[in-house]
């Protein structure tokens, strides 16, 4: 489980690639297309911001959306990537 104080970042060996218009997340065994909210979340994962900061920032951007929902979706997304060793926290 990701904690409010966790500071997620791309794991070692993961980086951005592809083109400006078509960013891809590259990692040892493959690549992943990331768009929309997923992209917004990952761009905030700089190892400085805490998970709480990220959720607040997302809430600010997607004004009017349900804060609880944002938190749950972001947590699920990051936990999945953590298991694949794409995101560390």
């Amino acid at each position: 489980m990701i904690a409010e104080t966790s500071k997620p970042a791309l794991a070692v060996g993961c980086r951005w690639g592809g083109s400006q218009e078509d960013p891809m997340l590259l990692f040892p065994e493959g690549a992943m297309k990331v768009q929309g909210t997923g992209l917004a979340i990952l761009e905030l994962c700089d190892g400085q911001r805490t998970f709480l900061d990220i959720v607040e920032e997302l809430h600010r951007r997607y004004f009017g959306s349900d804060a609880q929902r944002i938190r749950e979706d972001a947590a699920k997304f990051l936990e999945q990537l953590h298991e694949k060793r794409i995101v560390d926290y």
Binding site: A11, G13, E83
Partner: protein, 367 residues
């Protein structure tokens, strides 16, 4: 429409200080003098990136045997390719490793043969184990991904549990357990390498337990050997569909073993652009559509998933590159494959008493 490949495998040399009995390099190794020059590779990498290729796998032989490896990595990095170095680590100093990382290396895949130094050296035909262990420590001083790779076969499968525990101590991000693929030198040594069914069953359980134990810390990738599976794997993601391999001399192949299939002509990157080779080269076209398929593949539902299995294996085991891959349980030749599997003798040979059939992979000539 034909999609461009996602990854490029660059076999930059066939030279290698090791002599692994499971090596999948072709029996006819490319001579050092025929190797592509630094500049040729630079063009290949730039073109690959332009085609949308994302990953570059630098392999061999032993890629470190190229003194221009730093430059090759730098040019791939400049082209924005994700670079992966597949290496035995032999001869890699702490300083050179730092230079490779500096040049833009993203991922290093270091091969291990066993957890016992003497057994490992026996399989590799060279003293190399102790150095690999030291190197693993140096790798962790850098921010690059680290995969520990283990090729398994009858001679080391019984130790799998201990070997995994040993690999864990090296703190890799990933552990890759690759069952020997029977091409090239491995095929020559098949009688001594083919695991028994009992070994495989046990190995599956060991891997499953390790996956649970290491969840979230080490990712385990394991490829089940297809001699024992019910259906073949989609070799290389299908012939000419996902990957492109360039051999040391610059020939473009749909897979590393494709050279065994008689009659295939491989275009050279020195003469044609990568894109036109991908689109039009006869060797890539040969098994791309479904028109070459025979029964039972031709009408089988799984043909869009596994594309009839591996063409090289079909040739090596059935004598016909267009046949259904004989490892498939639906293949009329499947029995002959099963016989090989069942005939795998129970004996485990040991470093003291080398198997009669052991055939170490030599080094290519200077040409």
């Amino acid at each position: 429409m034909l999609a461009n490949p996602l990854a490029l495998i660059a076999e930059i040399t066939h030279r290698c200080p090791l002599h692994c009995v499971y090596c999948s390099n072709p029996l006819e190794l490319a001579a050092a003098s025929s190797e592509l020059k630094t500049e040729d590779w630079r063009c290949v990498f730039a073109e690959a990136a332009k085609m949308g290729i994302l990953h570059l796998h630098l392999t061999g032989g032993e890629p470190l045997a190229r003194t221009d490896l730093e430059e090759l990595i730098a040019s791939a990095h400049q082209a924005r390719l994700y670079t992966n170095l597949i290496t035995s680590g032999v001869g890699l100093s702490r300083e050179r490793l730092a230079r490779l990382v500096q040049a833009g290396l993203d991922h290093i895949q270091l091969s291990f043969q066993d957890s016992h130094p003497d057994r490992a050296d026996w399989i590799a035909g060279t003293k190399s184990h102790a150095h690999k262990v030291e190197l693993a420590g140096w790798i962790r001083e850098h921010r690059i991904a680290f995969t520990a790779n283990l090729v398994v076969h009858r001679q080391n499968l019984d130790d799998l549990e201990a070997t995994l525990k040993f690999l864990e101590t090296l703190r890799p991000d990933r552990i890759e357990i690759a069952h020997t693929q029977y091409y090239g030198w491995a095929l020559e040594n098949r009688a001594a390498l083919m695991p028994t069914a009992a070994q495989l069953e046990k190995a599956l359980a060991v891997v499953a337990a390790a996956e649970v134990r290491l969840k979230g810390s080490v990712r385990i990738d394991s490829v089940v050997p297809d001699y024992h599976a019910q259906f073949p794997k989609a070799c290389m993601g299908g012939w000419g569909r996902r990957l492109m391999l360039i051999n040391p001399a610059g020939q473009a192949l749909p897979c590393h073993a494709a050279g065994v299939i008689p009659g295939l002509v491989f275009d050279n990157v020195k003469e044609r652009s990568l894109q036109s080779i991908w689109n039009e080269s006869a060797a890539f076209q040969k098994f791309r559509s479904e028109s070459w398929m025979q029964e039972p593949c031709r009408t089988c539902e799984r043909r869009t998933e596994d594309f009839g299995g591996c063409r090289c294996q079909a040739f090596l085991l059935a004598g016909d590159a267009a046949a259904t891959d004989p490892v498939c349980s639906l293949s009329p030749r499947h029995d002959s494959v099963l016989r090989t599997v069942c005939q795998a003798p129970e004996d485990i040979v040991s470093p003291g008493s080398p198997a009669k059939s052991w055939k170490y992979r030599p080094n290519p000539g200077r040409g």
